[in-house]
Amino acid sequence: MTSGLIFGLTGIAVFAIGLFGALVMVEPLRRVLALKLCSVGAGFLLVVGAWREPPEAPDPVPHALVITGIVVMISATAVALALIRRLHMLERDTDD
């Protein structure tokens, strides 16, 4: 048992949970959150791939990749949320 093992399994579990949410949820915000869970799960896997038993230093490359992934994910999230707001507005206007 090591920290890498524990958090690797955590990451895979979070990814699977997020995947389930992305497939099943209908509520727009919850689907976005489910996708975000998937991305955190993938981040876990990369960080675990970088991890070395201390005192050995970790591999910096996956860390850089995860930071990139985080920025990419907030961009995608922002666009999805803008679409959700826009759709809500359009549907509200036609309902009136």
Partner: protein, 313 residues
């Protein structure tokens, strides 16, 4: 001394997985977002345990803090919508649950069969650190070894703000809550401090955990405070400056990458003598772009010429 920490890791891992489930199952949408924020902070904590402080900082600031703010502001706008429009048939849920359990099993199996101590690129990074111009390996990877990826990541951010401005044409949004005097006083106190912290994070990134993205995210918080406290209101006349801010990072990054080429050098090959200066220049401009873009993503729509009644309080 190792065992208690492993126990802590195991508990933390379980808590993270449980929070993920809770985010998807809790009924109230506000609680869902709050639980997500807790989930993000716990994940950041786990990444600190995995000796990845840079990633933890980025996840806490961008992936959790700013994402949470985006989610909350969206919830504020769509709160009139019904929480669950159509219930999903139970059979579909069970089938997908089975599928995802299967996927979890398969991935966990593959993961457990993989030895975790592959050499990776760490030796190559260590070998070339001296030539990279910076002292912190993660910054060296982001701004030098894999600078092309980072440029494209800034392009993704640019695409996001273009798309958001395009999508939210002419929307009149729900009025923001008035936050009162104490909040304003606090934001006046906090603003200079945040600017200092953001700049410090950018500066320290050359040698220690930190850098353009974390610094930019912290600076974006300045924008959020200003927007929330109505200390700044976006005006149509400010759009050219906003656009300049959005493209600044991409333009400077791409420009430097191309201009260093020539004389036998390739794109992105910074001359050794100026590598540190050039990287700091790129990081500074990218930080500004990230801060402006993230704040604009929070604000959402493009400030357009709106009827007079809308402009006045």
């Amino acid at each position: 001394m190792v065992e208690p920490l492993l126990l802590f890791d195991a508990l933390l891992g379980l808590a993270i997985a449980a929070l993920a489930v809770a985010v998807l199952t809790v009924h109230d949408r506000f609680a869902m977002i709050v639980l997500f924020i807790v989930f993000g902070l716990m994940s950041a904590l786990a990444w600190v345990r995995l000796s990845a402080p840079d990633v933890a900082l980025a996840e806490a600031a961008i992936g959790t803090g700013l994402t949470g703010a985006l989610l909350l502001t969206t919830l504020h706008h769509i709160r009139a919508a019904p929480a669950a429009p159509v219930p999903v048939p139970g059979g579909v849920v069970v089938a997908n649950l089975g599928l995802c359990a299967l996927i979890f099993g398969g991935l966990a199996f593959a993961f457990l069969l993989t030895p975790l101590q592959a050499p990776g690129l760490a030796p190559a990074v260590a070998q070339n650190m001296a030539a990279s111009g910076v002292g912190h390996p993660v910054t060296a990877v982001l701004l030098n070894f894999r600078a092309y990826d980072t440029l494209m990541e800034v392009v993704v951010l640019l695409a996001a703000i273009v798309a958001v401005w395009m999508v939210e044409r002419g929307t009149v949004q729900a009025p923001a809550p008035v936050l009162g005097e104490i909040y304003r006083g606090f934001s006046r106190l906090a603003l200079p401090a945040i600017v200092v912290i953001g700049s410090y994070l950018l500066w320290v990134g050359a040698q220690a955990p930190g850098g353009a993205f974390q610094g930019g995210a912290v600076l974006a918080a300045v924008g959020l405070l200003l927007l929330l406290g109505r200390l700044y209101r976006p005006q149509p006349a400010h759009r050219p400056f906003a656009r300049a801010g959005f493209v600044l990072g991409t333009a400077v990054f791409a420009g430097v990458a191309l201009l260093v080429a020539g004389g036998g050098r390739l794109p992105f090959e910074y001359p050794a003598a100026h590598a540190k200066t050039l990287i700091l220049l790129i990081e500074g401009m990218v930080t500004i772009s990230i801060a402006v873009t993230l704040a604009a993503l929070f604000h959402g729509r493009e400030p357009e010429a709106v009827p007079v009644s809308e402009k006045s309080e």
